[in-house]
């Protein structure tokens, strides 16, 4: 079966279901120095199966968008639906897996038990837990590390465990908040490729926060450029590289063109600052 063709027919045959629908979301924090507008009138529609990157300088609210979708924070105004449900319902129905900047593994649990943790919480049977832990460890190429403790793994491996953990209960949506930010360039490239393969295999919708322009352009079907004070979306760029791409496309003119547009957007956002 050719995944490329498969994805094509999927996209054409069914009218695309919206995985995330954000309209007019604003979020204001109360801080000691007064109010901070973390998000201001944000509108965004994300179809199922897309890979959407959020890029922008710190404080532009890209993480906040993810946290609002995950129901870890509540917007001050506006409406939001995740898989056709409210954010809270979506969280309660375990619609998404969340990957943080740090692996956030539980140090007293072995790798296998870390993978089983969400499954334990959600009440999967013992045999199902075992089977899924093995399957998702294999998916991130970490079979054989079941009995290791987190500190025995490198940072990149730990982050792969945390991705496997987020996928283990088979959510439709994968929310990733700068998952590779703390890793070195080479490990990062490698994980980017693996992530693309994973996205291709599992047909999830991925929302991905990053600081890196090449990473955003390489991974995404859609790039959301954001700007701070107040946090808002200034550009949404479609990015139609084939689903199966290699790192080499980063040298093609098409790639550089998209990267250039992202950079121009970011610069426009920054100009506001100075």
């Amino acid at each position: 079966m050719n995944p490329l063709a498969d994805a094509g027919t999927l996209a054409d045959a069914t009218p695309r279901r919206l995985a995330v629908d954000i309209s007019d979301i604003s979020l204001t924090f109360e801080t000691a120095d007064g109010e901070v507008e973390a998000l201001s009138k944000v509108n965004l529609q994300i179809a199922a199966g897309e890979f959407v990157s959020f890029i922008g300088p710190s404080g532009c609210g890209k993480t906040t968008v993810l946290r609002v979708i995950a129901d870890l924070q509540q917007p001050t105004s506006g409406t939001l639906s995740v898989n056709g449900m409210s954010a809270e319902q979506a969280r309660l129905s375990r619609a998404y897996g969340y990957v943080f900047q740090a692996p956030a593994l539980f140090p007293w649990r072995t790798i296998e038990k870390n993978l089983k943790l969400p499954l334990e919480v959600m009440g999967f049977s013992d045999s199902e837990q075992r089977e899924r832990a093995a399957r998702y460890l294999a998916l991130v190429n970490l079979s054989g590390f079941e009995r290791k403790f987190p500190w025995q793994l490198s940072g990149g491996m730990q982050q792969r465990v945390s991705i496997a953990r987020a996928l283990s209960f088979d959510p439709h949506l994968l929310l990733m908040d700068e998952p590779f930010g703390a890793l070195d360039e080479i490990v990062r490239d490698h994980l980017n490729e693996q992530l693309l393969q994973l996205w291709d295999k599992t047909a999830k919708t991925v929302l991905f926060v990053t600081h890196s322009i090449p990473e955003a352009v390489f991974l995404s079907t859609k790039i959301v450029v954001m700007s701070p004070r107040p946090g808002r979306i200034i550009d949404v760029i479609d990015c139609d590289f084939p689903r199966q791409r290699t790192l080499e496309i980063r040298e093609t003119p098409e790639f550089l063109k998209v990267a250039h547009r992202v950079r121009v957007g970011l610069r426009a956002g920054h100009a506001y600052d100075e």
Partner: protein, 308 residues
Amino acid sequence: MTNSAMAVAAPRRRALHGHPLLDRLVPIATIVLALIAIWYVAAVLMNMALVRDAFEREETPYTASELIAGTMEAERPLLPAPHQVIAAFVDSVFGYPLNAPRSLVYHSAVTLSATLLGFVLGALLGIALALMIVHSRVLEKSLLPWIICSQMVPILALAPIFIVVLGALGLQGLLPKSIISAYLSFFPVTIGMVKGFTSPDPMQLDLMRTWSATPAQVLTKLRWPAAVPYLFAGLKVAITISLIGAIVAELPTGGEAGIGARLLAGSYYGQTVQIWSALLAAAILASALIGLVGLAERVVGRQMGTRP
């Protein structure tokens, strides 16, 4: 240059030192020997006047060496010499049947039972209080000041009150002592566990939330295991002050049995050697108890993948 010098020096160092256990024991032994030497000097100096008086009272001539020898053999010295303490300790541990009132083993067992019961009660109370404090801001504000106040009143003043009040309620023997012991030992456990229960990373807490974990699941799968290192730190302090609490509780009971009773009787009759051998028993007991908690910590730590 320095590198090669170090490379040469390294094997020589190892040859000088020998077994790793020996490496660890040598510094400890040095300190112990130094303390014993200081102790002997102090014993001679402190008991000198006492012995000289005795000689002069009997109007016998004495030499300096007789004087020094006398300071180490006095029956009721101000400061007994180490060998006197050891001899009395060995005699009272091995010289009597285990249930005899002069057996230090008997007294230690009495104190140990109160200590252990007090420790268990204190640890449970400490954990329960920490749980309440962590889960309710109201309780944190209302309980914490009282918990801290409770430790500011000297236990020596409180113990007789406890004994009298509990005695009026019909509680005697082991339980009142354990309650005083628990009153002291819950505190480090509470303070440690409040810190431990709140130690999980915000990301770990967020993760549990994204999985819609129940509060009970957050407690058992995240807060409790994260608090285990803090628990053991608290328990190590708690076990020693449980012992102190039990000994202090034995003082106002009139001195029937226990290490505290031996200390009290010793001070009544000026039996300094007896006091010191009871203190030695208390020190050995305390070290053994801390050792046991440390052992439990290592066993649990190994299961929880603590970095060696």
